[in-house]
Amino acid sequence: MPVRTAEIAVNWLGVEATARLVEIGKFFVYVGDVLKQSVRKPMRTSLVFQQLEFIGNQSLNIILLTGFFTGAVFGLQIGGIFQIFKAEGLMGAATAKALTRELAPLMTGFLISGRVGSAMTAELATMRVNEQIDAMEAMGVDPINYLVVPRFIASLAIIPLLCVVFIFIGVIGAYATGVWIFRVDVGIFIEKMTQIVNMTDIWNGLEKSAVFAVLMSLIACRYGLRASGGAKGVGIATTNSVVVSLLAILCFDVFLTYAQVKF
């Protein structure tokens, strides 16, 4: 009996593993298709601008609010610790370093996955279950070219910029707590920050942000295009898309951080 149970378990694992591998393979084929279509005519400039407006402009408020509060809270936390060592002057530098290298790209990736990624999946999934994507294919229009590429290009272009905005406003949040609560001298706050934070930090943050943008847009569109099963299917696709995007962002964050620290 235990042998039989083990056999069933191994079989099940084999089937599951094969299905996962096939799924990963298909995802890579899809990524290849998106990259190929990204450099192929027609270039859909107006659709890219629509997406830039949706992803960038409409996300600005949430980025500004979250950036400010993240910088302020991080400033409060780290200021309290630095105060013990009489090193409050370093809080601006520490906050800016953390924001540029980690907090801003990660938080921007999370926020955009929640706000934009979910909307992308829901829109494409609704189009799929209502046969709108089938109609597009029947009219000889490639849905990857028409629907995915503009979202992919716009995400790649605008999310790193949102990350820069997050860093800037986060530093203002830290400045507010540092100068008004911990009474740090303005000159020292800025001087230490400019001494410790360099262009490599900003570049590393932007690198991460660009990778997160690629992951979010590709995953969100993929789940949307593959949705099935009516309203319930749209809900499932949207939830899965956000969960997978967040996990992918966290997972890639580890590898990117390791690469940036080591090399």
């Binding site: 829109e123 189009m127 209502n130 046969e131 709108q132 089938d134 109609a135 294919e137 029947a138 009219m139 000889g140 229009v141 490639d142």
Partner: protein, 249 residues
Amino acid sequence: MIEFKNVRKAFGKRVVLDDLSIVIPPGKITFIIGKSGEGKSVTIKNLMGLMHPDRGEIVVDGEDITRLDEEQLRLYRRKFGMLFQNAALFDSMTVGENVIFPLREHTRQPLPAMLERVEQVLALVGLPGIQHKYPTELSTGEKKRVGLARALVTKPKFLLYDEPTTGMDPLVSEMIDGLIVQINRDVPGVSSIVISHDLKAALATAENIVMLYHGKVALAGSPEDFRKTKDPVVRQFFSGSVEGPMEFL
């Protein structure tokens, strides 16, 4: 002309098209009928190249489309206009934007010419001047007619209708059936292929009918052939009786 030659399509162990051979003559209204799950939609998807048969040939105007690659298929699909069951209008676009969409994608016409063509096809389906409306502002029948205008706008050689009257009230059904006849008569060179399970509409509208049963052709011929047939499957489908050789899922 469209010809299916020994086309087989299976999903796992379930064979949907089993050595299917049919001929769809040019310039006529052909109804492909059968009960649900008999492979009508699979037939049309194979014809559009949206699905590929496991074996067999689909010859359209002398060309076997099963040998075309994805890029060639995309060009091939421009021969078709398709009206989907739920019209499948893009709900983020206005009626005008929906109808002009295939023209923008596939032609290099100047905008005024495209707008004029949109006006023409909307008038043809009896809905002139509604370009500014959104699909959500339309009734089900109006959506279908806009979907038909979109299918017609590029002057396709083949018009496909997927269950055009399913879920419609009798008046709208009658109007859609009338439109199918009118368009096939007024648009030169067009062939209409209608997927339906409405045998009565087929008898009233079609010039050629193909009935699918168990992945094969149960009967193909004119409406007269269908009226005269003694085939028990066709008779049962015609009468809508539960008694007979046709099983119910």
